[in-house]
Assembly symmetry: C2
């Protein structure tokens, strides 16, 4: 088995901007402050996203929460590239696409400020992500960039710039109108961005969670609602794109739905096709095809673990299913992904060919990424990677014990520093 | 094949309150006014729901819309019980559960006014529905009532009253907080209602559409959104019930999701189970069972046509799937339901046993309804019913042609009158 994960998360290290933001903007660089045991990113005087948002890998489940945490309490694989690759080896994962954390899954926390400074910060973010995080271990990370989407020409320029540097996707909001940007129905606004992505082959990548605010939750709803319903929003986000101009007017533009699961696809597409063929009075045009055909040709969907949907994989579409690990979040199945998947694939009676499609081929085709440029296939498989990492410590420890280990590594205190100083 | 449909709609005839609302309240009775070719219900000076909401059966698809229409333009089966039963025969449908139209699927248009008068109107509505609409053809309609849910003790009394008269379900809102009632997380409020339903065995029936306002639609979204996304709301409504007190504190209370489709079930339940088993820090209690087990024991879901979901029926759960016709709405497959279903069941390789479960057994068990009390099984099947109705005219006609036919039947004009005067 070969595993390529199309959705993981990097907890950005505190020094990430030091080597990438031109001096001119240095004063505006986002920076990390310490508040008790927690750390917090600050951008231009305002808190940006949580440092450790859900980075619970290595903690006992009863200690999980969504409160602020600190670098010292985290498993170093969350923020340190060398530890991360070792953790990937231990989990048999060849390659990973990593979403931002403090910046927001699609940069939403940075674009509170919509000006040249933020554009420079976003460029620095992308340079760090591509040239440092991803480039330290060639072949192990599929670069994912963000863009200054409040300024479409600048965003288009940034898309072309990062495409030339090897990026394979742009993380975009599920529903930009929730952040007082034009909705995806406003083609005039999004045209430069979609054109740049279609021409460079970069995928428009949507991560769950960002669209939750489109739902009015019931008073008294428990917090489980946000976690369970986040996946249901994926279909709502897809609806704006499939029934708006994005899919149909940009046939070379492709869309990846991260962490949304795959089980929503057949249900949603059946409804789309029935609506399209039945409600003829609305006179919609999908170019002589069905909405499902258009969707299936331009989309990728992924899951962490989802036994019913794997059983129903042929209803979903064998060519659009990818797998994701979601490291270091609570939904992740690190370090036992191969065992989880093996069990699901066996129960569902998947063939080897189907397993290859799901675990790496679909993702690699979609992101135009050759997984074997650095590691030949025989060294890229689960068994070979795990053999390199037999010594990786997978102990589950309370947060306080992680912090104690950190103090031993950093007897003089402080935040984790440059690459290699986890 | 035997067909029991758990979701159809009655377009209430204008004279419905004449024989059922006590004189004391007669002045407050909802009444129909004529505006051009359209009719409109008025309740206490305010427009109530559209008379012909989506009652497009018999119209050419290019004439469908969601504008106001008039009784004269409709196929009489929409509002006339005798024509309705003939149309059911023609479609091979043995029995039908009919939702209100002008009153709102769960009475929402009446309960704009929350007082004793509306309680009396609701009682009259239920008496008309049970004693007149359903009772005219015994064995052909599964009675569905509404309740004055703004007054829980009065609602509980009405539930017990209609249960004694044979009702099998109460139509309730998907999300009552959208109508400024307490949400389904407020057990103190809903307790008398849920207790009455659980004790009488009446099912809590939720129809799609009512929860749409929980979504903030994107600016510029086409009207397709509301029709396609209405089904996606079903899972959101289920979430309030399954993760709130309703399912878990009332094990005898049962829930039916009308027109929501069935394909959402496995995806939603996989997510629920994974969340429950993984996010242990939230310490939720499902009584030693999985959320999916609780849901599957207390739920019914239904579909009109949904080929992918029928293929994946074992992922959905063979005991919770029912079928619906949605007559006289645009989603309906009248008069060819048997042919549509036959094709879907054959393509999916369904066994006869599975077909029986889907087309009538699950629905009848769930609603505790014996379909063969009036018609023995051999006379209840599609072929036998259709043989009675070979002469039913299924011509598709423009609205204006329907209106012309109406003028021929009613040379002196006016609204359709008492039972038997379509």
């Amino acid at each position: 088995m070969i595993l390529v994960s199309v959705d993981d998360h990097v907890i950005e290290p505190p020094d990430m901007f030091e080597r990438h933001l031109p001096k001119k903007w240095a004063d505006a660089a986002p920076r990390v402050v310490t508040q008790g045991t927690a750390n917090q990113w600050i951008y231009r005087g305002k808190p940006a996203g949580l440092v450790g948002l859900n980075a619970v890998v290595g903690w006992p489940p009863l200690e999980w929460n969504s409160e602020p945490s600190g670098f010292a309490e985290m498993r170093p694989g969350a923020y340190d590239i060398h530890s991360r690759v070792r953790d990937m080896d231990r989990n048999g994962v060849l390659a990973s696409m990593c979403f931002p954390t403090f910046a927001g899954f699609s940069g939403g926390h940075l674009i509170q400020f919509r000006d040249e400074t933020t554009t420079a910060v976003i460029q620095a973010y992308n340079d760090w992500h591509i040239d440092e995080w991803c480039a330290t271990y060639p072949g192990r990370f599929i670069p994912l960039a963000i863009a200054p989407i409040y300024d479409p020409p600048a965003a288009a320029a940034e898309i072309r710039r990062v495409a030339a540097k090897g990026a394979r996707g742009i993380a975009m909001p599920e529903m930009p109108h929730l952040d007082s940007l034009p909705s995806y129905h406003d083609e005039d606004y999004w045209k430069p961005i979609w054109t740049a992505m279609a021409e460079t082959g970069l995928v428009m990548v949507l991560h769950i969670g960002m669209g939750l605010r489109s739902l009015t939750m019931a008073p008294g709803a428990p917090r489980d609602h946000t976690m369970i319903l986040a996946c249901q929003i994926t279909a709502l986000a897809a609806q704006d794109l499939l029934w708006g101009p994005a899919y149909r007017n940009y046939p070379d533009l492709r869309f990846s739905y991260a962490e949304g699961g795959i089980g929503w696809v057949p249900f949603y597409l059946d409804r789309c096709d029935r609506h399209y063929t039945n409600q003829k009075w609305l006179r919609r045009d999908f170019g002589g095809r069905l909405p499902s055909q258009v969707f299936l040709e331009q989309s990728l969907a992924c899951f962490v673990t989802d036994p019913h949907a794997v059983n129903a994989r042929h209803e979903v579409g064998m060519d659009i299913i990818a797998w994701e690990c979601d490291y270091p979040h609570s939904d992740s199945i690190w370090p036992d992904a191969p065992e989880w998947l093996e069990k699901e694939f066996t129960a569902a009676g998947c063939t080897d060919e189907e397993i290859d499609k799901i675990t790496w081929q679909n993702a690699c085709r979609f992101y135009r990424w050759d997984p074997f440029t650095e590691l030949p296939k025989e060294r890229a498989a689960v068994g070979a990677l795990r053999a390199l990492a037999a010594d990786v410590d997978t102990t589950i420890r309370p947060r306080s014990a992680w912090a104690e280990l950190y103090r031993q590594r950093h007897p003089h205190g402080g935040l984790p520093g440059l690459v290699g100083q986890a």
